[in-house]
Amino acid sequence: MLRWFARRLLLAIPVVWGVVTISFFMMHLAPGDPARTALGEKASNASVAALRHQWGLDQSMPLQYLNYLKQLVHGDLGTSVYYHAPITSLMAQRLPVTIILVVLSAILTMLISVPLASRSATHPNGIAAVAVRLFNAVVQGAPTFFIGAMLILFLGVRIAIFPAGGYPADIGGRAWALVLPALTIALGTVPIMVRGLRAAMIESYGSEYVAFARSKGLPERPIRYGYVLRNAGISGVSILGIQVGALASGALVIEQVFAIPGMGSMLMTGILNRDYALVQACTLVFGLLVVVVYLGTDLAYARLDPRARLS
C-alpha cells in the first residue's frame, strides 16, 4: 500500500513538470508584453525596456525557463506583477474558496445524479427517466455561464433565495453564496454522471448476481443498496474522478459570473494582464489539484472494488 502510494507520487512528478513546461511556453510565446501592459500604451520605450530588464524578460527564453524551474524547486511561486504581492500568499486566500466550490459541486453532482439515475434505471419509462432525457438535452446544449445566469435570474432575483453574486465576510453568508455557483457547475456534470450511473445500474439489475440475490429471497431494497449501487458506485467514482477536471474548469468560468474571489477570477485577471508568474502558478496549482484528485479516485476505487486491491 505504502509502496503503491510512493510509486503514484513519483509518477505524478513528470505530469506536473509537463504542466509547468507547457504553461510556461504557452504564456511566453503568446503575443503581448507584461511590461507594456503594466505601464500602459503611453509609456516610453525606455521605461518599458527598463521594466523588462528588472523582471528578467530580456533574458533568453531557455534561461528564463531554467530560472523559473529553479525558483519552483525552492517552493517559490514568484511575485504577481499585477497584485504586487507574493503569489503564495495570494494562493492562501484564493485556493480554499475554489476548493470548497469544487468539492461542493462534486457533492451536489452526486446528490442530484444518484437518485435520478437510480429512479430511471428501475423505471425506464417513468417520469424521472423522461425528465432526465429532457434535462440532459437542455443542459448539454446550454453553456454553463448561460445556466448560471438563468439560475441567478430565477433563484437570485425573481425568488431571491440565494444571493445573486458576491462573497460576504461571514461564514454562513459565504456558504450560502457558494450554493448557486456550485449548483451551476454541478448541472454541467450531472448529465454525464446520470448516464454513466444509469447504464451501470441497468447492467447490474440485469446481472446474474442480482437474479441470484432475488432467488435467495433478498428484498429489493437491500438489493438496490448492497448489490446494484454498490457495484454501479465503482463506475460512479471513476466518472467523478475524470469529471473533476471539468468541475475545476467550470469553477474558473462560474467564479466570474458570480463574482466569487477564487482562483478562477485570479487566473482571468492574470491572463488579461499578462501576469506570467500568476498564470503559471495557477496552472500549476490546478495541475496539482487534478493529480491529487486522481490519486484519491484510485484510493476510493481500491476501497470499493476488492478486485482492484491486489496491485
Partner: protein, 345 residues
C-alpha cells in the same frame, strides 16, 4: 413450515410463455407440465434453447422483462398460483417463496455472486434478514453451511471475495446460500456445466448427500443424461419448449424410451461400454424460436415422422399413469400398426 405428507412441493400445469423479440411474440414454452413428490429429484432435460432455464425462472418469477406467461398454474406446498397474473399481490406471494420454499442454484458461479461482497455474507444475507439473526449468529450459521457443503477451511474462506475462490468453491458457496433458508425445493440450472469434470463429480455427490441431509426435492436442469441417471428419480424431456416425454420412473425411460427424440438423445450419449467409431448425433439442429410450427417440434429432424406429425397439437399417447409420451409414432410400437395416411384411400 413443513409440507404436509400429501402436498407435493411443486406442481406446474400447462405453462406457456411468449418472448417478445423485436416486437414479435414468439412461443418459447408450450403447455409444459410436471410435478415433484416430496424428496424427489426430477431431471429436466433438453438441448440449449429448449426452455429449461426459462421454466425454472418462471417458477421463481425471475423472468427477463420481455417474457410473458400466457397460461399456466402452479402449486407450491398447497398454495396455488395463477402464473399469468402480474399484479403486485401475486408478485409478493411469489417473492415470499424465494429462498424459504424454493431456492435456485445458477449455472455460472463466476457471475452469480456479487463480486464486491465477501462470500460468507452472501450466503446468509437473505436468511439473516428474514429471520432477524444477529451478526454473530449469521456468521456462525454461514460457517455451519460452508462446512455442510464441504468447504473444509470455512473459517479461512468466509471473508474471501468470490474472485479469490476457484469455480468449484464458488459453486459450493452458491449451494450453501441456496440451502440457507431450508427450502423444500431446490431448482438447479445446470450447476455443473461451467465446472471441470473432476469438480463436477464432487458437486454431484454433494447434491446426493444434501438430498439425504435436507430432505429437499430437486428439479435438476441439464443437457447431460449421465447426470440425470446418477442423481434423479424421474425425468422430463423438453424439446423446443414442449414436453416430449416424461416419466415418474427414470428407469422406464432409460430402458425403453418411447419418444424418438428421447431415444435419439440416449443414443447420442457417450458410453464407455459401447465402443463406437463415432458418437451418434441427431441430424439437423433445433429450430430457432421464430421457426416453430404446428405439430410436433421434433418432426423436421425425426426419422419416424409422417404427415400427421406436422399438424395440430400432439396428444399424450402413453396410456400409462405417471408417464407422458407426446408422439403419434412411438418407438417400439408395432410398425405401421396404426393406419397412416388412409389405408382405404
Amino acid at each position: 413450515m413443513t409440507v404436509d405428507s400429501t402436498g407435493e412441493p411443486l406442481i406446474v400445469e400447462g405453462l406457456s410463455l411468449a418472448l417478445d423479440i423485436g416486437g414479435v411474440q414468439l412461443n418459447a414454452l408450450r403447455d409444459v407440465s410436471f410435478s415433484l413428490r416430496p424428496g424427489e429429484a426430477r431431471g429436466l432435460v433438453g438441448e440449449s434453447g429448449s426452455g429449461k432455464s426459462l421454466t425454472l425462472r418462471a417458477i421463481l418469477g425471475l423472468l427477463p422483462p420481455n417474457a410473458r406467461i400466457t397460461s399456466g398454474r402452479m402449486v407450491v406446498a398447497g398454495q396455488e398460483f395463477d402464473l399469468t397474473r402480474t399484479d403486485r399481490d401475486h408478485r409478493r406471494r411469489i417473492a415470499r417463496l424465494r429462498g424459504a420454499q424454493i431456492a435456485m442454484i445458477f449455472q455460472e458461479p463466476g457471475v452469480a455472486l456479487n463480486p464486491v461482497v465477501p462470500v460468507g455474507r452472501q450466503i446468509v444475507d437473505a436468511v439473516a434478514r428474514r429471520n432477524g439473526l444477529t451478526k454473530r449468529a449469521a456468521r456462525e450459521y454461514a460457517l455451519h453451511l460452508m462446512e455442510l457443503v464441504g468447504i473444509h477451511d470455512a473459517a479461512a474462506k468466509i471473508d474471501a471475495y468470490p474472485f479469490e475462490l476457484s469455480g468449484g468453491l464458488k459453486q459450493r458457496v452458491m449451494i450453501a446460500a441456496a440451502v440457507a433458508g431450508e427450502p423444500q425445493l431446490i431448482l438447479c440450472d445446470e450447476p455443473t456445466t461451467a465446472l471441470d469434470v473432476t469438480v463436477q463429480k464432487q458437486i454431484l455427490s454433494l447434491f446426493t448427500h444434501l438430498r439425504d441431509e435436507l430432505h429437499a426435492s430437486l428439479l435438476y436442469v441439464t443437457h447431460d443424461l449421465a447426470v440425470v441417471a446418477q442423481l434423479c428419480d424421474s425425468v422430463t424431456v423438453l424439446y423446443s419448449g414442449e414436453v416430449m416425454e416424461s416419466s415418474d420412473d427414470l428407469r422406464a425411460v432409460f430402458d425403453g424410451a418411447q419418444h424418438p427424440y428421447t431415444e435419439a438423445l440416449l443414443h447420442s450419449t457417450p458410453d464407455v461400454d459401447r465402443i463406437e467409431q463415432r458418437l451418434y448425433s441427431i441430424p439437423g439442429s433445433a429450430a430457432s424460436l421464430s421457426d416453430r410450427t404446428d405439430g410436433c417440434q421434433f418432426a423436421p429432424r425425426c426419422e419416424y415422422a409422417r404427415d400427421d406429425c406436422r399438424t395440430g397439437s400432439i396428444p399424450d399417447t402413453s396410456g400409462t399413469p405417471g408417464r407422458v409420451v407426446r408422439c403419434l409414432h412411438k418407438v417400439g410400437a408395432p410398425a405401421d400398426g396404426v393406419p397412416v395416411g388412409g389405408i382405404d384411400g
